[in-house]
């Protein structure tokens, strides 16, 4: 099926009243999640996963995808008006967005942010639509060695790009692999680490783990933060950027859209890195880099474009290879599994209505978001007046009841609490939760492909290096792991050498 044919099919699916309603619900929830600091899209999708059981699969995925890209629109509002990022991908927007608001240009900053998000979001969907089908066809040639190599690269990249320390990221990924090994072994049927608990036979469910790490963990970690946050009192009129604004923002917008999409397609890339990368690029190419940080509209347009196209780009590996690249798409991967769908290249041929329906809904969702974020921005700003001390217990409530309702089991509540406490320490000790949740989801794929490869090659490990794609991917993973170790060793050596040479005092 060609891209245009697919889009036509998708529009007939996405424009049905039910799917339109769920798309609207998704983008509204996404904007709300983006606006509210302390609740990210991954946590919101995890919270809503149990509620999607009763929904048709297409509607469920349309809604969850809407939450993810909708959060990118909402995140900038809080950054611009409060200097607090509503969503991690909007951290960079604080720098120039808040300065613009202080100079009385909050309307222009919010308007530019919404337009940049819309343009880049639409660009991202176009990219997904054009790249997705050929990549999925290509991925059909992949066998177990390629899938094993892809999961290895995915986890390595998430650890490399995600947090402050690669060692900490990789440790979380290894821990996630171990947690993912709980339950019945899919090949031999052997019970692993279940200790007689029937609920654990099917493995540790990712819903309570994700809710714990991203929902409960976030609430616990926010316990010491100030409850009252100041909203800048400023005019929200003049949401349409001026001609001069457009002239200055055009380049950053185009570069941000392209860069964001490319970074978004990488495992571990995601919207956060895309927005930082775009800001760095814009500052470097600008003729007036000194204006960055003082309210430059380029510093709003570039990162806001980048985080939106990255959010859409993240659907490329999910839909074509069946590999989620960040925590939020991992939750959508989980939703596909919960609805009995097998994420991967066959989705395009087995469930074309679902895939194209979701892609088409993204075009519609972006239009809805532009409308929601321009005239209705004041309404979302009002949400910021809901005090966090009231919001936090409600997040906990949804986590508790959501975790219980997965299997109607108290064991899942214990898992939620356990991972919530772990999530607290992960934040406090500067670890990163994303590699853990990705490894939990990718673990079974990695194990199956590893064991199938070894069985097919009769125990010959060279099978992974005999095929060009898996060999290239594994070499990339090795380089990624060795680079920081090499850099660290060189720095240590240089320090020792420098310590041995005493400066000559004249």
């Amino acid at each position: 099926m060609g891209a245009l044919e697919g889009l036509w099919l998708g529009l007939t699916v996405a424009l049905s009243p039910v799917n339109l309603a769920y798309c609207f619900l998704g983008v509204v929830l996404g904007t709300a999640v983006g606006v509210l600091p302390g609740l990210g899209p991954a946590a919101a999708i995890a919270l809503l996963l149990p509620a999607t059981y009763a929904m048709p699969p297409t509607a469920a995925i349309i809604m969850l995808a809407g939450i993810y890209y909708g959060a990118m629109y909402g995140g900038s509002t809080t950054s611009i008006l409060m200097n607090v990022p509503g969503e991690a991908a909007s951290v960079v927007t604080c720098i120039d967005g808040y300065q613009m608001a202080r100079q009385g240009r909050a309307g222009a900053a919010l308007g530019m942010s919404a337009f940049a998000s819309f343009i880049a979001g639409t660009f991202g969907v176009l990219g997904l639509m054009l790249i997705g089908p050929p990549l999925a066809r290509f991925a059909l040639r992949f066998g177990p060695p390629e899938y094993f190599a892809l999961t290895v690269v995915g986890l390595t990249l998430v650890s490399y790009l995600g947090g402050t320390s690669m060692l900490k990221g990789l440790s979380m990924a290894a821990l996630g692999l171990l947690v993912g090994s709980v339950g019945i072994d899919p090949i031999s049927g052997y019970q692993r680490f279940t200790y007689g608990l029937l609920t654990l036979s099917e493995g540790i469910s990712f819903v309570p783990v994700a809710m714990g790490l991203f929902g409960v963990g976030e609430v616990l970690a926010s316990a010491g933060e100030p409850a009252k946050r100041e909203i800048l009192k400023t005019r929200l009129s003049g949401l349409l950027p001026t001609r001069d604004d457009w002239a200055r923002a055009g380049g950053p917008l185009a570069r941000g859209s392209l860069l964001g999409f490319l970074i978004g397609t990488l495992p571990g890339g995601g919207a956060i890195i895309a927005s930082f990368a775009s800001y760095a690029v814009e500052k470097r190419v600008s003729r007036h880099p000194e204006k960055f940080g003082t309210g430059a509209i380029e510093g709003v347009a570039g990162p806001e474009a980048a985080n939106n196209s990255a959010a859409t780009g993240a659907f490329v590996p999910l839909f074509t290879l069946g590999l989620p690249s960040n925590a939020a798409t991992a939750m959508i991967f989980a939703a596909l599994l919960l609805h009995g769908l097998r994420p991967g290249p066959l989705l395009f041929t087995e469930s074309p209505a679902l895939i194209w329906g979701v892609i088409a809904s993204m075009y519609i969702g972006n239009v809805m978001l532009l409308v929601l974020n321009l005239p209705l921005i004041g309404l979302f700003v009002q949400m910021l007046r809901v005090p966090y001390p009231i919001l936090a217990p409600l997040i906990i409530l949804f986590c508790l009841v959501g975790a219980y309702s997965v299997n109607n089991s108290l064991v899942d509540v214990w898992i939620l609490i356990g991972f919530g406490i772990l999530g607290y320490f992960i934040r406090r000790l500067h670890f990163d939760a994303a590699p853990l949740i990705l490894a939990l989801i990718l673990g079974p794929i990695m194990e199956n492909s590893l064991r199938q490869s070894l069985m097919a090659s009769r125990g010959d490990f060279s099978v992974f290096f005999a095929r060009p794609i898996s060999a290239a991917l594994l070499v990339l993973a090795c380089v990624l792991v060795l680079l920081p170790a090499l850099r660290w060793a060189v720095a240590l050596w240089a320090r020792q050498v420098a310590g041995g040479i005493r400066p000559v005092v004249p």
């Binding site: 509620a51 009763a54 060692l167 990789l170 440790s171 290894a174 821990l175 692999l177 171990l178 090994s181 072994d185 090949i187 031999s188 052997y190 692993r192 680490f193 409960v216 609430v219 616990l220 970690a221 316990a223 010491g224 933060e225 409850a227 001390p389 009231i390 936090a392 217990p393 409600l394 906990i396 409530l397 508790l400 009841v401 219980y404 309702s405 109607n408 108290l410 509540v413 214990w414 609490i417 919530g420 406490i421 607290y424 320490f425 406090r428 000790l429 500067h430 670890f431 990695m446 194990e447 590893l450 064991r451 070894l454 069985m455 009769r458 125990g459 010959d460 660290w488 240590l492 320090r495």
Partner: protein
């Protein structure tokens, strides 16, 4: 952060050793036919190596300023109290039933957030009842009824 990184490395090392030991009790199989203990064993081994590297890296790291040595601990007392409330909730859920246990844990969280009594009672009561209606009545989730039957 040096001390905390060494401590987290030690905890991860303990987890790796324990998990590795448990995995070694599962059939490992052979390279041509890997058994159920194969993946957990090597994953535990990798975690152990990474934990050792974390300890080593923190030990050899250049000494930090007093500010950098402290992790961003803030409100740890409140966070610990919240953890206690959650554990108590899980322990009491089956006996007390969903409504009582959930209302209780919400009230405890709101009290920890220093809310006024009318807000505590109002929010806890309305949220517990609304979520009960949403999940038990509308979505037909069999929530625990407790010894009192609700």
């Amino acid at each position: 952060m040096k001390t905390w990184d060494r401590l987290s490395g030690a905890v991860l090392l303990l987890v790796a050793v324990a998990w590795g030991y448990e995995s070694s009790r599962l059939p490992l199989g052979q390279p041509s036919l890997p058994g159920p203990g194969f993946q957990p064993s090597w994953a535990a081994g990798v975690l152990g190596l990474l934990a050792l590297a974390l300890i080593l890296e923190a030990t050899l790291r250049r000494s930090e300023s007093a500010e950098a040595q402290r992790p961003r601990w803030a409100g740890e007392g409140k966070a610990l109290a919240m953890m206690g409330c959650l554990i108590a909730y899980a322990l009491a859920l089956n006996a007390a039933g969903y409504l009582l246990a959930t209302g209780g844990v919400l009230a405890a969280f709101l009290l920890l957030e220093r809310q006024r009594w009318p807000v505590v009672v109002g929010v806890a009561l309305v949220s517990a009842l609304a979520s009960y209606w949403l999940f038990a009545v509308w979505l037909q989730v069999p929530l625990p009824r407790g010894l009192l039957g609700w």
